[in-house]
């Protein structure tokens, strides 16, 4: 075992800004759609709370105000769930979640769409043979800028205008369908809620909410309960409950201090969640306080009068900024409330039926697949943003091992010889937000893709201190979008000779990079499955799924011989890049894989699942490695129980046999030369049981001493913020190969947060030899080794620096301030 220290570049210069969440929608198939302000629509898996895929927003397309899942329109697509979005660009867009491309775009006809509601109902028709045929019909209502509610019918052909409701004088802000009756309610900016008939499009009723003198109240959100009660949230902070049989106000509760922006209702008509500008998530419950008392006494007192009542039964604050969207996931295994807002944090509150006491889970602010790629040889770092990429050259430290006469201690700060520098910022003329990017190991090429086209750039890095600017030239010879569509994932082979592109059409293309041109060497269509035969029976278990699915992961072995591709149907194929042939299909795992990577200069492919299980598959021998067969079921509970999934797998040449699994808030080192201890494990079955019971909450493992450390929380940020935008280099203890300590280079004297953590991390690592976890770093966007494994790079993104960049939240004067 080589005991050596690995210097770590601790980078905080990648100022990734997540964009705010505008809308959330929960689909019955267990997916949550999350529309962000930059137009992206994320699809989260509600079972594991993994970000599955990201539909890129159309550049300059305006923000999406609402998303909806529509399940099955017509018989042929009975099983398919369609994703619709509507936004301020005035279009209703249906999205293909596999190709990530819009299927159809229909103009609303009334300008910006502020809200969208979809209702499905069964319609029984009598056909000619007098046989009743049941069909599901979908009707969509759009709240338009021009003061009209437009009704569309959704069928297999697309979205067809059905009718336009009577005009009102003000902007329509919210719509909701009555669950049973032919009514649609529309909340407007003139303090009114109007009820229209969905058959005649005429106004049925006009409900007026409270106003403050001289101002109109905005009815921001509407929802119908399954018993027909209409719930409205307005800009006064009032949540009002309306009886739809008499169109009268039953109860108005001024629960919020500021505008109510969103409501969440489930099947249960007695629970409503609301949230808004004051950041609080409030639960309302319908209680029945009626007592069974003697009749003669009750006759005197009108007891029934106040027996049924909506009361505020819970109040939590998860967010730092306005909450824009709520979604209640109440299918059996999930039972959670998802909230999101301006602070761009996707928060899952688990076991929502115990609401005020439920636990919140903040999801990482960056996607599962890293936005960052590293040129290991050229020491360049590429970061992808919505419409541009940036390239940095990493700094250099004074090599101290020789000068100081021995290895330094963990946590020592190294002197900086050269600081990191931004060498290029490439603005891409893109149609949509960027979907994938990669930089070649030699740092000569970068490949960037949006939804429709993939582009290759050549970089000529100027030397330091030179006056020449770095030149980035787009290689026009690269095949046009007609040949190579947009990519969902891009990978250069380590020898920088070839480019692997996973296209939005689910075809993996291998392009050679040569001076002569960029011939497409192979088109691998395994992930398209058998087109047409796809009949997705069960979305969560993809066994036997043969249809087309989005290619989410690519990995090339160090010797550029093996290529692994994986898709969201959990199919993993391994190709031989020498022969350009399909080599083997990795056996199907029960859980969706999150990432995989070839490690240790071998053909061993480490695959991590969204249950945090780890498997190692030997591509050459076409079977799980010996280590995996003996140890994969012994993965310790403290890793399995982490709610954050592994984002990447790395290995260093300097420490063969060790693999690093990193996630947004922890790093886990597995020593494949040592067996996992039996007492350090828990069976998969046991773990799954615990997950279904209380969600994937952190376990109370005795080894989990790191709980006292901020894992991804805000406490870490306070220390880290003063080293913002500075590269940092450290030395690390080598025992487990993980750089454990960092000292930012611009703070010389102060003991840093990082060194405190390193102690705890060291303690942790001694507890289990084969597995060590450490929580040294703040929210980690990226981790990787530089060439030869002698240096490591960590890219952090502290939450506070994100929040600092956001506009100030709702200010409320408090007593005593």
């Amino acid at each position: 075992m080589v005991n050596q220290m690995v210097p770590v570049h601790r980078c905080r210069f990648v100022a990734h800004m997540p964009s705010g969440i505008n809308a959330l929608a929960y689909g019955e198939h267990g997916k949550v759609a999350c529309a962000r302000a930059n137009g992206d629509i994320e699809v989260w898996d509600a079972a594991t709370w993994t970000l599955e895929r990201r539909v890129p927003g159309i550049g300059g397309g305006g923000s999406i105000e609402s998303v909806s899942w529509v399940s099955g329109a017509g018989e042929s697509m009975a099983e398919k769930v369609r994703l619709f979005s509507a936004g301020l660009d005035g279009f209703v867009t249906e999205w293909d979640t596999i190709s990530l491309a819009p299927v159809s775009r229909v103009e609303s006809g009334g300008g910006a769409v502020w809200s969208m509601a979809v209702k499905s109902f069964k319609r029984v028709e009598e056909d000619e043979g007098n046989e009743s045929v049941e069909s599901t019909e979908h009707i969509m209502a759009l709240a338009c800028e021009d003061g009209r509610v437009r009704l569309f019918s959704v069928d297999t052909q697309g979205v067809v205008l059905k009718g336009v409701c009577d005009r009102m004088d003000s902007r329509v802000l919210s719509v909701a369908f009555h669950p049973t009756k032919n009514m649609v309610a529309a909340g407007s900016s003139d303090s009114c809620i109007r009820i229209y008939s969905t058959t005649t499009f005429r106004l049925l009723a006009r409900l007026t909410v409270d106003t403050r003198s001289g101002e109109d109240t905005l009815v921001w959100t509407l929802a119908y309960l399954s018993d027909g009660t209409l719930v409205a949230g307005d800009s006064l902070g009032t949540v009002s409950f309306w009886d739809m049989s008499s169109f009268t106000l039953m109860r108005a509760l001024k629960a919020h201090l500021a505008d109510v922006l969103c409501l969440a209702v489930g099947k249960d008509p007695s629970v409503v969640f609301s949230s808004g500008v004051d950041r609080r998530v409030i639960q309302f419950s319908l209680v029945d306080n009626a007592l069974e008392v003697q009749q003669n006494y009750m006759k005197k007192k009108s007891s029934k009068l106040y027996a049924k009542n909506w009361v505020l039964t819970g109040d939590r604050r998860f967010h730092s900024h306005d909450v824009r969207a709520l979604a209640l996931c109440e299918s059996k295994p999930f039972d959670a409330l998802v909230s999101g807002g301006v602070d761009a944090t996707f928060i899952v509150s688990k076991t929502i039926s115990k609401f005020p006491e439920c636990k919140q889970e903040r999801k990482a602010m960056f996607p599962q697949n890293p936005l960052i790629s590293l040129a290991k040889d050229a020491r360049l770092l590429l970061a992808r943003f919505d419409d541009h990429v940036k390239i940095w050259e990493l700094g250099q430290f004074v090599s101290d091992a020789s000068t100081s006469g021995g290895p330094g201690r963990a946590g020592d700060k190294l002197d900086i010889l050269k600081k990191e520098r931004l060498i290029a910022e490439v603005k891409i003329k893109n149609l949509t937000n960027l979907t994938a990017s990669a930089i070649s190991n030699d740092g000569k090429f970068i490949a960037v893709s949006d939804l429709f086209s993939t582009r290759l750039f050549e970089i000529q890095v100027s030397p330091r201190n030179a006056r020449v600017h770095t030149r980035v030239t787009r290689l026009k010879e690269f095949p046009s979008p007609s040949e190579i569509p947009g990519s969902t994932s891009i990978e250069f082979t380590p020898d920088s000779k070839r480019l692997v592109l996973a296209g939005t059409d689910s075809i993996v293309r291998i392009v050679a990079i040569s001076d002569a041109g960029f011939p497409i060497l192979a088109q691998l269509t395994q992930h398209r499955g058998t087109v047409g035969s796809g009949n997705r029976k069960n979305a969560s278990s993809n066994v036997g799924f043969t249809g087309r699915e989005l290619v989410s992961s690519l990995a090339v072995s160090e010797d550029s011989q093996w290529l692994a591709t994986g898709d969201l149907a959990n199919r993993i194929h391994i190709f031989n890049l020498d022969s350009m042939k399909h080599h083997v299909t990795v056996p199907h795992f029960k859980s969706q894989h999150t990432t995989f990577s070839f490690v240790n200069q071998s053909s061993a492919l480490v695959i991590t699942l969204n249950t945090n299980e780890v498997f190692m598959y030997d591509a050459e021998q076409r079977r799980l490695t010996e280590w995996s067969r003996q140890n994969s079921h012994l993965i310790p509970e403290r890793l399995l129980s982490r709610p954050e999934h592994v984002m990447g797998v790395e290995s260093s040449e300097a420490a063969p046999g060790k693999i690093v699994l990193w996630s947004s808030d922890y790093m886990c080192t597995l020593d494949t030369h040592k067996p996992l201890l039996a007492n350090d494990m828990s069976s998969t079955r046991k773990r799954k049981k615990s997950r279904t019971r209380n969600g994937s909450t952190p376990s109370k493992s005795p080894l989990d001493s790191t709980k006292l450390l901020p894992t991804n929380g805000s406490a870490a940020i306070g220390h880290s913020i003063n080293v913002n935008d500075n590269g940092a280099i450290t030395i690390s203890d080598s025992e487990d190969e993980i750089p454990s300590t960092v000292t930012p280079m611009d703070i010389d004297t102060k003991p840093t947060y990082a060194s405190i953590v390193s102690h705890a991390a060291t303690r942790t690592s001694t507890a289990g030899n084969a597995v060590s976890m450490q929580f040294t770093y703040g929210p980690t966007m990226f981790f990787g080794f530089l060439h030869g494994g002698a240096e490591a790079v960590v890219v952090e993104r502290p939450i506070l620096s994100v929040i600092d960049a956001l506009p100030p939240g709702f200010y409320r004067k408090r007593y005593g301030t």
């Binding site: 109860r251 108005a252 509760l253 001024k254 629960a255 489930g266 099947k267 249960d268 008509p269 007695s270 629970v271 419950s285 319908l286 209680v287 029945d288 306080n289 009626a290 007592l291 069974e292 008392v293 003697q294 006494y297 009750m298 007192k301 009108s302 007891s303 009068l305 106040y306 027996a307 049924k308 009542n309 009361v311 505020l312 039964t313 109040d315 109440e330 039972d335 929502i352 039926s353 115990k354 005020p356 006491e357 007593y815």
Partner: protein, 996 residues
């Protein structure tokens, strides 16, 4: 209106009675509205007061409970009936229209809580706390049950007003419960019932149960929040018609358990509105101590330490506020009138306020006696306001309360220390904050000008803690002038830090101004810094008309750097007595000349209280209290007339200016009061009153009691003795104009005491019906005594009392011997004093100094050298020898005495500093030794005097030459001026005149 008369010792020993007039720790029970919303009931200790909503006047006092009242419930249908439960194990039903008791139910155990089930008339929930183990199940024991053995239950009873003959319950001694609803180890804290459910709570748990017999009790879960310290449940309220239960927490949160009878469900379902839902209302920052629903169920009233009533609209949680209700004091409970028009708030400052719900304004305010906790004026908690005759007590923090104890009416309050009343600033909560508030500002002393109804001036001394750097309290002396137009006291002058040390007493005295004939009012303050100061209104400068004169320091004096505990002035303001250390120095307040000193044998004991005997018709004497004894000095002789061992620590003294009597209170500690052989409890049933007394005393062992003794200055035999439990905070004679109302009760009691429970009680000897009140008898006796002075030789020494009819005195002594064993010595003294010839056998310290004996003795047996007139002069004016003359020698001294007596007082030594004169008791010791040697004092008179003079010469400063012959041959001085003059002759002038 007397509220309750204590049975106590009176049953067997018709000695004293105590009648509670007012005050007491006010109950925090909910106010109950009765009589169609026109009356309300508020409880104080064991009394239910029925008061008018309209004006707060008391209509009836429902007296009869023997223990603290723990709950009141209005009759569900008859609005003139009210039930009250008490720790005396009874529930009583009262008619508030005439204040009569209708029925009493007795239970086995003290009733700690009561609630009624409005849906079932005559059904009641009663909470009991029983102590399982010990046989001692007195109410006092069960209020503080031990954790292990106590068992608290809530039981349902049917308390029928009319019971039929065949009703089996009527035959039972105790009512039988219908069912036992809750049972718990810890005592229950609050109990409330509404139609259909009953809820009960302890500090941490709440249970509810439906009204049905087969309903199961259900525990309500408190929110699972992370508190630093889990909050306590303070109070409980049930919605009148629905299954909504609310609870106030010490964290300020109000929990609303909707649908409380149903179970929590963990998974949401369509039926989830059949689950309990918990709603949390959080406005209060401090504990919520008062909570009530309106009777129509639309409003929830809540109150707490903030002095704010919050009206929550139950439906929408909209809030309205009624702020500043209790003048900064916590709100203890809220009761709502049946028509929801009024809320009755019991505030922490002993007041009940009726607040109109419609206009959110206080309609009626009934302020009780606020004396509570540490709010006791230094020295004496009861001070009489001479102008109004009201008693003045320290009210809430920094306030003085003027209280009519006879009518139990708050007259007015004077905020002596202006302060911001910020709730929670003291950091305490609940009862603790009351203490903290007191620590912040407190009126320590108060004094009134003694001009009867014409009194204009009041002086207060207040302390405010933490206002100065270094943590020293800020002390200020304030002079207040009565404003006749506005009928208020307003601050006239404020003096910061009037003394360096703690100020111990303040007295106004009106000095006659010889030039103008008007009286000048002077305030005398004494302090532990060994100074006493006199304050007067500065002379008005005629040139500056607009400038109001201020109170300024006129002079200050000291005596031997001894801490001064008290001061007193004679009724005519001719003499000022300063209790400096163990010596009382007598001064002329007009000229600041020290006239004399008075000593007592126990020189290690400081004189704590001093007072002149009140009655003008009596022998002028001075009363002093030390830590263990009560002394009476005869001012004519300047000697201890008699003294009595108080048996405990004397802490109170009050003189009745009308009869001349005075009362003394003493803290009696455990083993001291009862003799060693009597310390065991005597339960043999002897009817001797003495043993009964002992039994009472013995039962109170372990808790200090206060013995209150009334004396006439002429006799060491107390006219009566009263034993009050605990510490008596103050005592005072009531103004005599109230005596007729008391006489109707056949009691001569005029002494008001503030008892340990902060009730004001009137205490006095009990006279059997049909006889003349003993007050009159004793005053007659006193008059007789005063009228027939003895002409004998020693009458001037021992006072007239000693020479009364021997048989009567013996009889009296025998009576007193029965009363209290601790006074046996006094009794012996009294009886033996009759034996004239054996007076030398009495304890030496009880005797006058032989010096005093010697000279009159010689005067009596020797022929006088001077004429009769000269003799008179000599007696009238003391031989106030100057030091120079005193040094002259024995023979010269007599000469000087005569000469200087003729020269009167103008010859004043300006350097008089009595550093080392031990005073009379020193000389007394000398003679005591001589007496022990059986030397015949009368035979060797000359030798004695020679000896005396030798001794006095050896002391650095010559002593006085005492002369006690003033009395002899003359009638006892009836006028105060001659009394003071005669007293002066035994002292020496030592005055430092200082002008402010």
């Amino acid at each position: 209106m007397p509220r309750s008369t204590k049975a106590g010792t009176k049953e067997t020993e018709p000695c004293t009675s105590s009648t509670v007039l007012c005050g007491g720790v006010p109950s925090s029970l909910r106010v109950v509205f009765v009589g169609g919303g026109k009356l309300f009931c508020a409880a104080t200790a064991s009394t239910v007061n029925v008061m008018s909503v309209e004006n707060g006047m008391r209509v009836h006092a429902l007296v009869g409970h023997g223990g603290e009242i723990t709950g009141m419930v209005a009759h569900p249908s008859n609005e003139f009936l009210i039930y009250s439960a008490s720790l005396d194990s009874t529930v009583k039903l009262w008619d508030v229209s005439d204040g009569s008791l209708i029925k009493t139910w007795t239970f086995k155990e003290p009733v700690t809580l009561i609630a009624s089930d409005p849906s079932t008339p005559e059904a009641f929930y009663l909470a009991f706390t029983s102590v399982a183990d010990t046989s001692n199940s007195t109410p006092a024991a069960s209020t503080t049950p031990k954790k292990k053995d106590s068992r608290a239950t809530v039981e349902k009873f049917l308390l029928k007003l009319l019971e039929t003959e065949d009703d089996e319950h009527s035959k039972l001694r105790y009512p039988r419960p219908l069912e036992i609803i809750f049972s718990n180890r810890m005592p229950f804290k609050a109990l409330h019932a509404s139609a259909g459910l009953v809820a009960v709570c302890t500090d941490q748990k709440i249970w509810v149960k439906g009204a049905g017999i087969d309903d199961e009790p259900k525990r309500l879960n408190l929110p699972n929040k992370q508190y630093a310290t889990p909050p306590k449940i303070m109070t409980l309220a049930c919605h009148p018609t629905t299954a909504l239960v609310s609870a106030g927490l010490s964290s300020g949160e109000i929990l609303m358990f909707h649908n409380s009878l149903h179970e929590y469900s963990l998974t949401p379902s369509i039926q989830s509105h059949h689950q309990t839902a918990l709603q949390i209302l959080h406005w209060h920052a401090n504990p919520v101590t008062a909570l009530s629903f309106s009777n129509d169920g639309t409003t929830l009233f809540s109150g707490g330490l903030e002095s704010v009533i919050v009206l929550w609209q139950v439906e929408t949680l909209k809030r309205r506020f009624i702020p500043r209700i209790g003048n900064g004091s916590p709100l203890l409970s809220l009761g709502v009138s049946p028509d929801d028009r009024f809320v009755g708030v019991v505030c922490g400052d002993a007041s009940v306020r009726i607040v109109g719900v419609a206009d959110l304004a206080v309609k009626t305010s009934v302020v009780g006696l606020k004396s509570k906790g540490k709010r006791v004026l230094n020295g004496n908690a009861l001070v009489k306001d001479p102008r109004s005759g009201m008693m003045v007590v320290a009210g809430s923090s920094g306030c003085l309360q003027f209280y009519d104890v006879w009518g139990d009416v708050n007259v007015m309050e004077v905020e002596a220390v202006a302060q911001n009343r910020i709730v929670g600033s003291t950091g305490g909560s609940g009862e603790d904050s009351v203490v903290g508030e007191d620590a912040l500002a407190a009126v320590k002393l108060v004094a009134f000008e003694r001009e009867g109804k014409q009194s204009r001036w009041m002086a207060t001394l207040d302390e405010r803690a933490g206002m100065t750097v270094g943590g020293e309290p800020e002390v200020s002396l304030k002079f207040w002038m009565w404003d006749d137009v506005n009928q208020v006291y307003s601050v006239y002058t404020r003096v910061t830090s009037p003394h360096d040390g703690e100020v111990t007493s303040m007295h106004f005295v009106a000095l006659p101004n010889e030039e103008t004939g008007k009286k000048t009012t002077v305030l005398i303050t004494t302090s532990l810094d060994a100074r006493f100061k006199m304050w007067e209104l500065a002379a008005v400068d005629s040139s500056a008309r607009d400038v109001e004169p201020n109170w300024v320091q006129r002079s200050q004096g000291f005596y031997r750097d001894a801490p001064i505990y008290d001061a007193a002035t004679s009724a005519d303001a001719s003499m000022l007595a300063i209790a400096a250390g163990s010596v009382i120095s007598l001064w002329d307040p007009a000229t600041n000349i020290m006239c004399a000193t008075l000593c007592h044998p126990h020189s290690e004991e400081h004189v704590l209280k001093v007072a002149f005997s009140g009655s003008e018709s009596d022998v002028p004497c001075l009363i002093g209290i030390t830590a263990s004894r009560c002394y009476v000095w005869n001012l004519l002789t300047g000697s201890v007339w008699w003294s009595v061992d108080l048996g405990g620590v004397g802490n109170g003294l009050s003189v009745d200016s009308e009869t001349g009597r005075f009362v003394v209170s003493a803290m009696v500690h455990d083993q001291k009061d009862v003799g060693a052989e009597d310390s065991g409890v005597e339960l043999d049933g002897t009817s001797s009153s003495k043993k009964k007394t002992k039994k009472v005393l013995a039962q109170k062992l372990g808790t200090p009691n206060t013995r209150i003794l009334e004396f006439h200055p002429s006799s060491p035999l107390p006219t009566w003795i009263h034993v009050a439990p605990g510490k008596v905070h103050g005592l005072s004679y009531a103004p005599s104009e109230h005596a007729p109302s008391l006489r109707a009760k056949h009691t001569s009691a005029r002494v008001l005491i503030m008892s340990s429970t902060f009730e004001i009680e009137v205490v006095g000897a009990v006279t059997p019906k049909g006889t003349v009140p003993s007050t009159e008898i004793s005053s007659k006796q006193a008059a007789v005594t005063a009228a027939t002075p003895s002409q004998s030789l020693f009458s001037g020494i021992y006072g007239a009392e000693a020479f009364q009819d021997p048989t009567a005195t013996i009889q009296k002594a025998a009576e007193s011997a029965k009363r209290d064993s601790t006074l046996q010595s006094a009794g012996i003294l009294g009886s033996e004093m009759n034996q004239r010839l054996s007076f030398m056998d009495t304890a030496s310290h009880l005797m006058l100094a032989p010096v005093k004996l010697a000279l009159p003795f010689f005067d009596a047996i020797l022929k006088k050298r001077d004429s009769e007139q000269e003799s008179l002069d000599r007696t009238a004016w003391d031989l106030s020898a100057s030091y120079e003359s005193a040094n002259g020698g024995a023979d010269q001294m007599d000469e000087d005495t005569v000469v200087q007596g003729n020269e009167k007082r103008e010859h004043i030594s300006t350097e008089a500093t009595f550093k080392d004169v031990e005073g009379l008791e020193f000389l007394g010791d000398v003679f005591k030794g001589m007496m022990a040697r059986k030397d015949s004092g009368s035979a060797n008179g000359g030798a004695m005097q020679a000896k005396l003079l030798t001794i006095t010469k050896s002391t650095p400063v010559p002593p006085s030459t005492p002369t006690a012959n003033g009395v002899q041959g003359k009638k006892p001085s009836g006028t105060p001026s001659s009394a003071s003059a005669s007293a002066k002759k035994s002292g020496k002038p030592s005055a430092k005149k200082k002008s402010a």
